[in-house]
């Protein structure tokens, strides 16, 4: 059993009771809500005549269903309209803060939590969305929950949970030029498998994480769940504090000092013990791109696609299915695979640093005529910042579309969808069949750099080979 890790410390300080089911009742420090997983949960509250136990610890926004082109009400999709209207009514009725479109602060929950300083080290953070692991980058325990559990948090600010084991993922040395946090997370999932993290929280550490920006850490923690780990976190350090200082909900003055002292305390101790440790040499990581139908189906961009024989049992069938569905062959190169769509966005890669990186590579280039490219900032604040820096012009001049904040083409719940058997290169986190809105649509996941280099080339291309830009 792990000892004295951040996970253990946060778990212990948030334990309310031991339940008959053998689970622990855990206090939830921050509850983020959005339109998709809440209507039934609020309905449950109404049925039992309960209010929200700690309304100040819940905050809502809208992201999944929001159109990124025309946001005029009522929305064309009446399911979306109904979800939106239900959320508006519920937050009003239950007195929950809501960051609506006119707040200037709306965005994907996992982008706005850290951005506003709501997500802080040492917290437990829950949201009805699996990518809540993102907030682990702040040195918190963030995890996704189902609708019934959303109801539990609303009514009691607690959840019944099983304690996880802790696996430390140590990335040593340094990343090579052109290799990004997205490549690190795809590599971790490649090595440990999409079920490797089941029952574990991942603690990411080592030189590469020490040197990584906060937004990079968010990208990595975001995809922990794709490797089966419900939680992934990085210990808070000076980088974390520098990021948090001055944000809207961060403490100020003396309270800030007390906060920093507490956050230092909550980090894993030097004597921390882990249930397991996995090490990767940073230098061995290449830009990664997925070739198949789950996020574990990835390959170093210059490597040949893996032989089906390298997979065992059920995984072999999935790999075969993956090759067939994606119309690719083992042994070949992924480079040169023609793409129809390029998507830069989602809670994995839609923050200002992602857009800056994309714009840096895009500058002076054009999106290939055969490619439709969408650039979708993760929040209204990111969008504003990008426009202040003129990044939007770099994208639009190159022929990409610049959209309003939202989940967009990460999933088929809003008008941004693949059509037919279109093939996309995407910075999002899931390449499951049908994920981008077309049952036959094909998704390749990669970093913002890979998405831009591929958008320009019209096919999957190595960003390290783009000509030096002025």
């Amino acid at each position: 059993m792990s000892k004295n890790t951040l996970y253990d410390k946060v778990w212990d300080s948030h334990t309310v009771a031991r339940l008959d089911s053998g689970q622990d009742q855990i206090f939830i420090g921050l509850h983020l809500i959005h339109e998709v997983t809440t209507p039934q949960a609020f309905g449950m509250l109404k049925e039992i005549g309960s209010g929200v136990a700690f309304p100040g610890r819940t905050i809502g926004t809208v992201d999944h269903i929001i159109p990124t082109l025309s946001q005029i009400r009522p929305y064309e999709d009446d399911q979306a309209e109904r979800m939106m209207a239900a959320l508006e009514q519920n937050v009003n009725e239950f007195g929950v803060r809501f960051l609506h479109l006119d707040s200037g602060k709306q965005g994907i929950v996992h982008v706005i939590g850290p951005e506003l300083g709501l997500s802080q080290p040492g917290m437990t953070i829950a949201c009805g969305d699996s990518h809540t692991s993102t907030h682990g980058a702040m040195g918190s325990l963030g995890f996704g929950i189902g609708t019934t559990e959303v109801g539990h948090v609303l009514a009691t600010q607690t959840l019944a949970l099983n304690r996880l084991k802790v696996k430390r993922i140590e990335v040593t040395g340094a990343l090579s030029p052109g290799v990004t946090p997205k490549d690190v997370t795809l590599r971790v999932i490649h090595d440990l498998g999409i079920k490797g993290g089941l029952g574990f929280a991942y603690e990411y550490g080592g030189d590469v994480f020490d040197a990584m920006s906060m937004e990079g850490r968010m990208t990595v923690c975001n995809m922990s769940i794709e490797g089966g780990a419900r939680i992934g976190y990085v210990n808070p350090d000076q980088t974390t504090f520098d990021y948090l200082e001055g944000r809207e909900f961060s403490p100020e003055g003396e309270a800030w000092e007390r906060g920093v002292a507490y956050w230092r305390e909550i980090a894993s101790g030097d004597d921390a013990e882990y249930d397991d440790v996995y090490e990767i040499a940073g230098e061995s990581i290449e830009p990664m791109v997925t070739w198949g139908i789950n996020p574990g189906h990835s390959v170093g961009i210059s490597q040949p696609l893996p032989e089906v024989g390298s997979f065992a049992g059920e995984d072999r069938k999935t790999a075969e299915h993956g090759y067939e569905f994606m119309d690719l062959r083992p042994g070949e190169s992924i480079l040169g695979t023609k793409v129809d769509v390029a998507f830069l966005g989602s809670c994995t890669n839609s923050r200002i640093s992602d857009l800056r990186e994309g714009a840096r590579l895009m500058k002076g280039n054009k999106v290939h005529p055969g490619v439709r490219m969408l650039v979708v900032p993760g929040s209204q604040q990111v969008k504003q910042q990008a426009e202040d820096e003129g990044l939007h012009e770099v994208f639009t001049e190159a022929g990409a579309e610049w959209r309003e904040a939202g989940c967009s083409m990460c999933l088929g719940m809003n008008p941004d969808k693949l059509v037919g058997a279109e093939r996309s290169i995407s910075t999002s986190n899931r390449n499951f069949i049908g994920r981008q809105g077309s049952p036959r649509g094909r998704t390749h996941l990669g970093s913002p750099a890979v998405v831009v280099s591929s958008a320009v080339a019209g096919c999957i291309a190595d960003p390290r080979e783009m000509g030096e830009q002025a």
Binding site: S13, T15, L19, T156, Y262
Partner: protein, 202 residues
């Protein structure tokens, strides 16, 4: 703490012979669009009821029934919570069958609907009894794991941990969590971030 012990259920039964009734038949997919469970009982078997004039669910002889006898692999298919919700809201408090799909069983437990498993012969006997003499009142005894009518007693299997939770009234996780609200307050007071590190407020 509010206890919701489930020990004994007495009432009439709806017989649903046939195996592999999946969740899509229990609550057709188009009802997944609805954003609350309110009124979901109207969806119960609605497609097949439309095409089956004497469907057991509509048969006036079974009106007021609070249990259902089903075949093998009931509740298979998609994991939607709508199916057990529709059954419960229709008034079904317990199901006896030959076997149940696992996720369906978990969803039933979460909303306090016990499932009893009996041999195919015993289930057939129950189904026939309910069909031939619909006024029969059956008694499901959770503690003793039996279903009985007249002087016939049929043994049923109820998963042990779930049975214990039904008998103790601890199956309702939300009620358990709410029961500890005073301790929740205490934990909240101890966590410095709850006041955003404002020591005055602590």
């Amino acid at each position: 703490m509010s206890t919701k012990r489930i020990e004994k259920i007495v009432g009439k039964a709806i017989p649903m012979p046939r195996d592999d009734i999946d969740t899509d038949r229990i609550t057709p997919a188009r009802f997944l669009k609805s954003i609350t469970f309110e009124g979901i009982e109207k969806a119960l078997f609605c497609d097949e009821r439309e095409n089956t004039p004497d469907h057991p669910v509509d048969n006036p002889a079974h009106k007021g029934a609070n249990m259902m006898f089903v075949g093998k692999n009931f509740g298979s298919g998609s994991s939607r919570e709508h199916a057990p919700q529709a059954l419960k809201r229709f008034g079904i408090d317990v199901l006896i069958g030959v076997s149940f799909a696992e996720i369906f069983a978990g969803n039933c437990f979460a909303i306090g609907v016990p499932l009893g498993v009996a041999s195919a012969d015993d289930v057939n006997a129950l189904i026939r009894q309910a069909q031939e003499e619909p006024e029969t009142h059956f008694t499901v005894d959770i503690g003793n794991s039996t279903v009985s009518y007249g002087d016939r007693v049929i043994p049923i299997d109820i998963q042990e941990t779930r049975k214990a939770a039904f008998l103790a009234g601890t199956w309702d996780m939300l009620a358990n969590l709410r029961g500890n609200l005073p301790q929740v307050e205490e934990v909240a007071t101890r966590l410095p971030y709850v006041t955003n590190f404002d020591s005055e407020a602590q």
